[in-house]
Structure formats: structure tokens, C-alpha cells
Amino acid sequence: MPKLLLKFNAAVIKEVPFTKDSLTVGRKADNDIVIDNPAISGHHCKIALEGGTYYVEDLESTNGTFVNEKRVKKAGIHHNDVVGLAKHALVFVEDNPEPVAAPAPSAAPADATMVIAPQKQAELVAAAAGTAKDSAVNGKLGVMRVLKGVVADPEYKLTGLSTYIGKSDRVQIPIKGTGLFGSAPEVAASIHRKPEGYILRAVEEGYPVVNGVNVNGQVLLKDGDLIDCGGTTMQFVMQDAG
């Protein structure tokens, strides 16, 4: 069922759904849509369904009925057309807009004549599922649990494509430093999500320690691996994506 948006000077003041096939508009109370304004006639116009199309018909109003700025006696109206009555306007809104509108991800586009660029057919599916699911590797999401040396959170979900570990404020997982001054590299390691799993890469070569072994290049993380970075120890865990 389509509906009408009643606007006064471009501000929507009411939404009127079509509960029946024809609606009358005017100042008098016996109208379906009553607009109390001296510029509106007692019975100003009628909007009715005829033969599959909605028509607006001016009922001999004083100031006239307009469709998209053109004065009419009777005219067909379509999605997004604006029926003007003095300072008021009724915007006709259809549920399933015609192809004129941008294709929405519903049945409409499939029926509308669409234009798709060649070699690059862009199809627009409704927004994908939640990011957690998106980030999961085969349904599982990597999580870093901080066991020792917690700086901020005790747990970090590895939702991003890359997650960085270090002392800097630019990283996602902060660590505690070691030594007299508690120093640690700004960025010590990074974790990258790949189709085959999560990879830990040593940004500061030899600094991160995985299961007791210093990492110089990169290593594929397994569920339960222990990672030491500076004064912080973390455990890598694979969880089912929520």
C-alpha cells in the first residue's frame, strides 16, 4: 500500500497510508486528509486508484492542485511525485518503487531494467552479516587473552585484517615493557588474518616469543599458543564466531 507524506513548506508533518483506494483532501472535516489552512479549499482534491494507477483530481479548488509544480485538473501520480496544495504538499510514496528509483536490494531490481557496467557487474547485496562473522576464519575468530602484564583490556578480539602489538599508542594491543625504564619497541609484532589462519609477524625481529621460541620472521598461530612480548604474556585462542 502506498502512502502520502503530508508536508508543509517541505517539512513532513504527517504520514498517511492508503487504507482504501481513494482519499479526499480538504479543509472540511469530512475529508480523509484534513488540512486546516485558509489556502486549502473545503474539498480540494482527491487521490484515487484507477486502473492500476493512482490519480489526483482537483475538485474545483480555489488555489489549484499541482503535480510537481504543474497545475493539473487530473493527472496520474507515481512514486516520489509531489502533489502541491498551496503551501502544503503530499508526496506520493510507493512501497515498491518503479525502476525510476535506484534499485533497492529487494525484488524490485530484479524486475527493473537495470544497467550494469560491463566486465564489472556491480551487484549490491544487502549489507553482509556482522563483522565478527566476516572476520572469522572458517567460522572461528582469533582472540588474544592477556595473562600477564595487562595494560588495558584483558582480551582482544582479532577482528581486523591486521592487529598490532607494541608499546606505542598506535597499536591495538599495548604491552608492558621490560627493564629499568620499562621500554619496549613501539611496534613489536603484528598479527594478520589469512584464509589459512592467523599469522604472527615479528616487526621487531626476535622480540616476540611464541611458546618460548623467539620469532624472527613469522609463524602461524595455533590455538593455545603462548606469546611473550616484553613484559606481557598473552594466549592465542580460537573461538567460535558469535
Partner: protein, 271 residues
Amino acid sequence: MMATLDIFGATDPGCVRPNNEDNFAVDAELGLLVVADGLGGHNSGEVASELATKTIHDFARQMLGGPRALVPEGGDPSRSARARQLEHFVKTANTVIFEKARAFPKDAGMSTTVVAALADERSLTVAHVGDSRAYLFHNGRLQPVTEDHSLVGDQVKRGLISLAEASKSSLQNILTRALGAEQDVLVDVSEHPLFPGDVVLLASDGLMKMVEDDAVARTVATEASSRAIVESLIAQAKAAGGVDNVTIVAARVPADGGGALKGLVSRIFGR
């Protein structure tokens, strides 16, 4: 204190397509890089991609270029200011393209991918929608920092097909997200630290379709300036067939040029 990065961008229609529906924007002062690949009937793709780059650039200039940096209100406070800003620019571009497509029937259905980044010599923020990509080159390794929002990309991620199969799939160009398709869009944003000598690379899929990742990595590693990188990659893409429009923007973080001394100086003053 924005030590200026060496930024350069270029676009080429390729060898097969008669027109270029890609667009890009760079702003060395703001550290802004944008690449967009448009789609839509006749030249609506070009309209969409230009709208994307222009809108993002305009808003970046207005919100970052002035004496104060503006952050969109009501954002997620747990994210950094730059992430929120970049996301806001991209979402605004989406709104503009969406509304324009709605208002002009001839542009109905137009949309575009986009990948945008804000970079300074310390860190990089990347936002993207679609299958144009951003890469980060660090320590000899080239790493993608975006995941394609495409049917095929999804399949690869879920392990349904391999990357090799993906590059041969006939459904490669079907996107799951694009700017201008719907009223609201989900933008992926990520942040990465940058080190001296790193290179940020933004490219439309015209590059990936033609040139292997290894070759790209080698080019980035060997060429000295951003300009050289971009020109070389475009040449390679065209040599391989140039089936699609190709657009590339590269930004390199100046390496420790004077070596130890510069490092020393920068340590005293620059940290």
C-alpha cells in the same frame, strides 16, 4: 608535524576500455589518498567515481584543512579521531551518490568502489568499500590491508575457493558492497603504524587483475620514488593486456635518509 610523504597517483583507461570510469584524489598536505572505480550505465560510472573522490576530498579539506580538525559528532569514541573522520567522509560520499542516482534516472543504479587513506609518517588509516585495495609495504613484504567486498572475495575468505581459483572465476566482478547502492553503507576502517621506508599503495582492481602480487611487491621494493612505482605498475598492467581501467596511488614514508645522524636528530627533536 606532518613530514610530507612522497605521494603520487595516476590513472589510465587501459588498453581495452574506451573510457575511464576510475578516479583518484591525492592531497599531500592532508596526507589523503583516494581511489574509486565506478560502475553504472554508460558514463554513470565515471560520475559516481568522481563524486566519490571529489566529495571525500572536499570534506577532508573542510574538516582537516582548517586551523582546527573537525571530528564528526556522535561517532564511536573507542575509535581514533582519524578513523571516525575517514569513515564520515566515505559515508557522506555514499549519501551524495545515492541521492544523485535517485534524482536522475539516467544515473539510476550507479555506484562505485572506493578506498581512501589518511597517512602521516607515523600511522596509516584506511577505509574502503568494494574491491579496490590498499596495500602496505614494510620490511620487504607487501601486505594487503583491505579485504575485497566481493562475492569471490567472500568465497576465498570462507575457504570455499582458493585465491588462484578466485582470480579465474567468472563472477569476479560482483561486489557485495559499493557506494551509492543503498542509503547507508558499512565502511571497513583499519589503522596501521608506519615506519620509515614503508610504502602505502592504493589501487583499483585493474592492477590486480593484470599484475601478480609478487611483481607488484618487487616493483615497490625496487623503485625509488612513488612516481616511479606508479608509472611502472601502470605500464606493467597495460603490458599484460590492460583489460580494465587501472588507477594507482602510492605514498612512501621517507626512509632514514641521513642514516644515523638523521635518526639521532629525529630522536632528539622528532619523537
